[in-house]
């Protein structure tokens, strides 16, 4: 017997459609089993909400437009504890508002997905223009020690696939997962081929057996839902394995926070996903992610055609930082070029793993890099010595 | 609700260990059944004592107004 969701979505099976990245992400959520969306309109993420409002009732899910982004993530977290797989989507200003509740979701181990279709900031910035300025906010935006998972798609197809992956990682590690899209990818329209509904791998929620505690005991404890008569206590305050608050015992806090970090740090290799395209004799490597990976790949291919060996590394997982892949690249080349639509946020992170020069190729102002801009930088630095780009402001 | 039959004997149960000595029950008992006791509990508060149980009509005001669930009326 087909579920309503199955029968609705299997209509897309193996079809190729011409969609926005935003739309593809929304369909990814539906394929992943999302049955609750709360959001607030914002460019360039509103199309995600529009698709969810249209499709969720057709798969027996619920859409609610809240009064702001704080309320949106609040409602998402509430829905998850009531049994939902839930998501919200926003852009920079809304993402800033969500930071406190992202910390709450980390502390309470609430699996959920937050899509941030990044736009040019700070503040209202260039509301309709793309940027990659939130990558460090995704890592450190909420207060206190914590780890996070964040992924960055580079194509419309990947918007779909990484949204599914975000839901799966959220369930597997009981953590909020941030999909770091950008306005360029969100508003890019290109073809996407849907998988067959039954071929999509879905991580189901692991629920606790009676008497098993939901906030400790193992690195990723099983969850409990409301309404099961277990009288669970969910709090953003420091708590014991039972969930009950204990804010005055040093060891309770240390055990909790180190476990919340350890469950991600220890799984870094498993979570990390990158695209490595290495060639013999490369003296320079290009490291990119999200929309910027597209002109970066173009420049790498052009350079190779012109006889210059260049390595290419695309980060699909941004957090936890795929340090092993970055180290592999750093061991091979003399120079790493990092084009990004910000003033060198990931370039700085790359510097932590290599003694070789890391050259940020920053571009802000809402216009993506061109292939030629990146190609020129490869040409200027391809010999592995000296630098003509990347002076940090 | 106030008992219609004031002659029914009420039993006032005071859990001294839960009491924090706020005296609301003493101040608002309509028939002055309660008073501050001379004893002190483990937390250092003076719980109320029953001085005139026979006057109690079992209105349960003390029971419902008590912030600590420290006083209850048992109709026997």
């Amino acid at each position: 017997m087909m579920t309503q969701r199955q029968s609705r979505l299997s209509g897309f099976d193996n079809r190729t459609l011409f969609l926005l990245g935003d739309e593809a992400a929304a369909y990814g959520a539906l394929y992943a089993g999302c049955d609750f969306f709360a959001g607030y309109p914002i460019t360039p993420a509103s199309e995600i909400a529009e698709v969810m409002s249209r499709e969720l009732p057709r798969v027996d899910g619920y859409y609610v437009q809240m009064e702001d982004e704080i309320a949106s993530l609040s409602a998402v977290i509430g829905a998850v504890w009531a049994g939902a797989k839930a998501m919200t989507a926003t852009s920079g200003p809304g993402f800033s508002l969500m930071q406190e509740n992202i910390g709450y979701a980390i502390m309470t181990e609430t699996p959920c997905v937050i899509i941030d279709v990044q736009r040019s900031g700070p503040s209202t910035g260039q509301a309709t223009k793309p940027a990659q300025g939130d990558v460090l906010q995704a890592r450190w935006g909420t207060h206190g020690d914590h780890e996070i998972i964040a992924l960055a798609p580079s194509s419309v197809q990947e918007c779909f696939e990484l949204t599914v992956e975000s839901f799966n990682l959220a369930e597997k590690y009981r953590i909020p997962v941030i999909l770091l899209m950008d306005g360029e990818i969100g508003h890019l329209r290109e073809s996407i081929t849907f998988p067959a509904y039954e071929d999509v791998a879905r991580e189901e929620r692991r629920l606790a057996e009676p008497e098993v505690e939901s906030f400790g005991g193992e690195d990723v404890p099983p969850m409990s839902h409301f309404g099961e008569g277990r009288f669970i206590h969910v709090t953003g305050s420091t708590h014991k394995a039972s969930g009950m608050r204990d804010v005055s015992t040093q060891a309770v806090h240390e055990d909790l926070v180190t476990r919340l970090c350890r469950k991600i740090v220890d799984a870094c290799a498993e979570i990390s996903s990158v695209e490595e395209d290495f060639v013999d004799g490369a003296k320079i490597g290009v490291l990119a992610y999200g929309a910027t990976a597209r002109p970066a790949r173009g420049a790498v291919l052009e350079a190779r055609r012109a006889g210059c060996a260049v390595d290419f590394l695309r980060l699909i997982t941004i957090w936890p930082f795929p340090e092993e892949a970055v180290k592999r690249l750093a061991d091979r080349v003399d120079t790493i070029l990092v084009p990004e639509m910000n003033l060198g946020q990931i370039a700085r992170e790359v510097e932590r793993f290599t003694a070789a020069p890391v050259l940020p190729l920053s571009k802000i102002g809402g216009v993506p890099h061109t292939i030629d801009e990146i190609l020129d930088a490869i040409r200027a630095n391809g010999s592995g010595s000296g630098s003509t780009v990347g002076q940090r402001p | 609700m106030p008992s219609q039959d004031a002659r029914v004997q009420q039993m006032i149960e005071i859990n001294e260990e839960l009491c924090k000595g706020c005296d609301i029950c003493i101040d608002f008992c309509p028939l002055q059944v309660l008073a501050i006791s001379e004893i002190i509990n483990r937390k250092g508060y003076y719980p109320p004592k029953v001085v005139d149980e026979e006057k109690c009509i079992g209105c349960r005001l003390c029971e419902l107004v008590c912030p600590e669930f420290a006083i209850t009326i048992c109709n026997e």
Binding site: F36, A75, G78, A82, Y104 | I24, D27, I39, R42, E68
Partner: protein, 286 residues
């Protein structure tokens, strides 16, 4: 605690308080200050649950940050979502949409509900979502030491209005009534019997139900206004309160400084989650 009680044990074994079954008894007595009205609200709430014979398994409590959020969390033995400051109504919205069969109850203070979370309050009332909100109004931020709140009366000194409060308080109950809630009342911890009955009504009614409960803070607030005993507040509530129907016949000047108590609104506007779920029925097969 190892020390022996200084008091003699009771002459006969105590009959257990019949409402203790609703509480996490192992953590009693509460952490509330002596005479705090939060315990009285908890008491009235537990009594209402008892009167309605609601199984606590069918309830979810959602709270914020502050003294009154501790009323259900951790004391009432039920599923509890203790959220970020100001956001319990928004969290509760997600819970209720997914589990309309559960009674979702928000208990939080004037800071949470009328201050930082005021916008969520207005919009939840506008949606008329089937949630019960008890706003425990103690006229100040008590947990942080007695700062001015959006509900602090005009002209009153607090730790952050040392020269008296220059702002007017928000009349939260009237606001919620105007925003579209199905049930709104205001009571105080002096009016325990009508308060308990009002909580019953709020729990029963479909749609957004809101009770503003004036509740004493003899420690943080009382220290600034020389009302250091709980009874000082209860006498004030008793003497200054005016029933809704009486208040209608009074002038604005006569109502100055008065506390209007009673039911402000009871109506049957359509409820949000019911309407939301009705949309899904259009697409249900068979």
């Amino acid at each position: 605690m190892n020390d022996e009680p200084i008091i003699p044990g009771p002459a006969r074994p105590l009959k257990p308080h019949r409402l203790l079954k609703f509480l996490r008894q192992e953590i009693l007595p509460t952490a509330f200050c002596p005479g705090c009205g939060c315990g009285t609200v908890l008491n009235s709430f537990a009594q209402a649950v008892e009167e309605l014979s609601i199984d606590p398994k069918d309830m979810v409590f959602v709270t914020g940050i502050g003294c009154s959020s501790w009323i259900p969390s951790p004391y009432f033995k039920g599923d509890t979502l203790h959220t970020t400051h100001g956001r319990p109504i928004a969290f509760a919205t997600g819970v209720k949409i997914m589990r309309p069969d559960l009674k979702v109850v928000v208990i939080a203070g004037d800071g949470d509900i009328a201050g930082i979370g005021g916008n969520h309050l207005v919009h939840a009332a506008r949606r008329n979502i089937d949630i019960t909100v008890l706003m425990v109004n103690n006229w100040n931020y008590g947990m942080t030491g007695g700062q001015v709140s959006p509900a602090t009366p005009f002209g009153v000194p607090t730790t952050t209005t040392p020269y008296d409060n220059p702002e007017h308080p928000l009349e939260a109950a009237e606001l919620v009534a105007a925003a579209g809630a199905n049930y709104v009342s205001r009571w105080t911890t002096y009016h325990v019997f009508p308060l308990m009955e009002s909580i019953q009504k709020a729990l029963e009614i479909e749609g957004f139900s809101f009770i503003e409960i004036l509740s004493q803070c003899p420690v943080s607030y009382g220290k600034m206004v020389d009302m250091r005993r709980a009874s000082d507040f209860l006498k004030f509530y008793r003497d200054q309160s005016v029933r809704v129907h009486k208040a209608k016949e009074m002038s604005a000047e006569e109502l100055e400084g008065k506390i209007v108590v009673g039911k402000l609104v009871e109506r049957q506007r359509s409820e949000f989650v019911t309407s939301l779920r009705r949309i899904n029925e259009r697409f249900r097969e068979g």
